[in-house]
């Protein structure tokens, strides 16, 4: 039961700032908004601060007193822009590279301890695509957990912040063209509520559950993209989905687990060839994730799988830097000190997302977005360990700027609209089956290697899935019903997948993570895909990136 200090009238709860999602971005937003003096309500559809993809994040890229002597914001900025393949928004990238040292300093003041090397200095490690070593670690490669622990403690100690676990957002609520709150369901009691807020921050993470094999938690069902779209916000470059190139394929119990030390291990195909000598002779396995994913997917597609990773030569470094991964594999029967492990790509990160400006503000009034749910920073390829950096920097920006909003209005929202998710239904398809159908389509046609005909087929199949979603079988409506949760999530997944497929179909070139066989090269003109909803219809338009927009000089 929610214990809340503000007014609760007829299931309407009022707050200044509503934060949806409690990973590193959401918790940061909440803490910074509360520091400005605002009342904050932070929701999570699972256990607060324990259910996002931040949990599994291994390291964080950053700058500070500890940096490599040659490192500085402009060098970091250029790495991000190079990696973004022309689609990174330089104004967002500049903010990240300029503000990460400040945000890291603050979270360290709040208790985060960075891992140290033997000489008592902060341990800096190299990650593919960063030209200088700037990856930092906490809790020995469990950096996301360390950050969440620090932020959770900070948030729960602050009496301006109310936390609420196990409550899922179904819709954002608007007045004219402004978001004024959200319609949610408390899964522990099946009670619908309307939340009235002066500003709302989406921080629900990504959508990697659109694919059957993923590094992400089960909660990554694209809720924020669907909510943003429904509220009228623009989604940018949704076709840009990062696959973590080297993830565990077997044993099945840890399938999808990222192998963070691939860049200094060796990859082999079934013929025993170290295949990266063919795809990236200069960098070999130390290639950016888009290049490596396409190479691995090509090997598998052309029948040279299964692929393996051999870390036996570097096992001491692995044990020192990534003890959790080493131990997990050992516990599941693979001792990396003695044997290779079978690997394959796993869906990992959405580079696209809700379009934001420098203030983490969407193009709908009152709606802010932070972390993976936002789009534009990483463009066509996110550099390793930039996800947590984005969460800290843009979580803070979202929290601070959302605090300036003062307009408030009691939502006129008919909560009976949510009853459809809470009542038994005698249709044909269980909600989890809809999720699996979406995963099958995405896996078959919208994975690493795409074709135009495949994407056309995906569009057709998505239409069919949309109809099945209107014909649901739902038998369990008790409290904390997995069927209810799956039904709402399937609805969010469907809207998100639809945006991805349309955006992929529109990009007739291969750029960043989007590789399409018929158009293997870059087009000269760099275009953003903008996907949005107007008068009940989804629309997509392309917007050219001005050449000067993609350089750090601008």
């Amino acid at each position: 039961m929610l214990v809340y200090e503000s007014v609760v009238v007829m299931n309407v709860i009022s707050t200044d700032v509503l934060v949806i999602g409690s990973g590193a971005a959401g918790l940061s937003a909440a803490v910074y908004a509360a520091n400005v003096g605002r009342q904050v309500l932070i929701l999570d559809k699972g256990a607060l601060g324990r259910s996002g993809s931040s949990v599994g994040a291994v390291q964080i890229a950053g700058l500070g007193d500890f940096s490599h002597p040659e490192d500085e914001p402009n060098i970091y900025l250029n790495d991000i822009l190079d990696s973004g393949r022309g689609l990174s928004d330089p104004s967002l990238a500049k903010i990240l590279s300029n503000e990460i040292d400040k945000r890291l300093g603050e979270i360290m003041d709040w208790g985060l301890k960075l891992d140290q090397s033997k000489d008592q200095n902060v341990l800096l490690s190299h990650t593919s695509g960063h030209r200088l070593p700037r990856s930092l670690s906490a809790k020995k490669g469990k950096t996301g957990l360390g950050i969440l622990h620090t932020l959770r403690k900070k948030a729960t100690k602050n009496n301006r912040i109310t936390t609420w676990s196990d409550v899922i957002t179904v819709e954002l609520v608007k007045d004219g063209n402004r978001v004024i709150g959200a319609a949610v369901i408390d899964l522990t009691t099946n009670t619908p509520y309307v939340i009235q807020s002066k500003s709302t921050i989406l921080a629900t993470g990504g959508a990697a559950q659109l694919f059957p094999v993923t590094s992400n938690p089960v909660q990554s069902t694209g809720d924020g993209f669907a909510l943003g779209l429904q509220a009228g916000a623009t989604l940018i470059d949704m076709e840009q989905i990062q696959f973590y190139p080297v993830s565990v394929a077997k044993p099945a119990s840890i399938a999808g687990l990222c192998i963070s030390f691939y860049h200094y291990s060796k990859l082999y195909n079934a013929n025993g060839d170290r295949f990266m000598t063919k795809y990236a002779p200069d960098t070999l396995e130390d290639a950016t994730r888009d290049v490596l994913s396409i190479a691995i997917a090509t090997e598998l597609k052309e029948g040279r799988g299964p692929l393996t990773l051999d870390a036996t030569d570097v096992i001491d470094q692995v044990k020192q830097e990534f003890p959790h991964e080493y131990q997990l594999c050992a516990d599941q029967g693979v001792d990396l000190a003695k044997e290779p492990i079978t690997i394959a790509p796993a869906s990992h990160f959405m580079m696209g997302g809700v379009l934001i400006n420098e203030y983490a503000q969407s193009d709908v009034k009152g709606l802010y977005v932070a972390g993976e749910t936002s789009g534009g920073l990483h463009g066509g390829n996110r550099l390793g360990n930039n996800a947590l950096s984005e969460c800290l920097v843009f979580g803070a920006r979202a929290g601070i700027h959302a605090s300036y909003e003062t307009f408030t209005k009691t939502p006129k929202y008919d909560l009976a609209k949510l009853d459809k998710f809470l009542q038994t239904k005698s249709g044909q398809h269980r909600p989890f089956e809809i999720k699996m159908l979406i995963q099958e389509v995405m896996n078959q046609f919208v994975g690493i290697i795409r074709t135009e005909s495949g994407l056309q087929e995906a569009l057709n199949r998505m239409n069919a899935i949309g109809q099945k979603l209107q014909n649901i079988h739902l038998s369990d409506t008790s409290t904390y019903s997995r069927e209810v949760l799956d039904f709402i999530e399937a609805t969010h997944m469907y809207k998100t997948a639809d945006a991805v497929v349309h955006s992929a179909f529109q990009r007739r070139e291969s750029r960043g993570a989007h590789y399409i066989e018929e158009y293997p090269k870059l087009q000269n003109a760099i275009m953003h895909n903008l996907f949005y909803r107007r008068q009940g219809q989804n629309e997509l338009r392309q917007k050219e990136v001005h050449p000067n927009d993609t350089t750090s000089e601008n």
Binding site: R50, S51, V55, V218, H324, D331, S478
Partner: protein
Amino acid sequence: MTLQVKIDRGVTTSQYEIDWQDDMTVLNVLENIYRYHDPSIAFRFSCRTGLCTTCMMMINGKPDLSCQKKAEPSDDGFLTLSPLPKGRTIRDLIKAY
């Protein structure tokens, strides 16, 4: 192969017989029960990699992570699952956070 599973659901105990491969984790077993035997079973999980700890429950009498623990029967022939004894249980195996 089949596996006999007993789940303590507070007022009742439910029993299931599921198809069993020996590389299944306890979480795989629960997912199988939800999909093919009993849509009303309630359990919590997130990361599947032993980090978030939200899938913790009593497995054959001992607290463990259901995403990492191999599904095996104990001496009585059953895999027995129950919620952690500490804290409030929302339903079945789910603890309040």
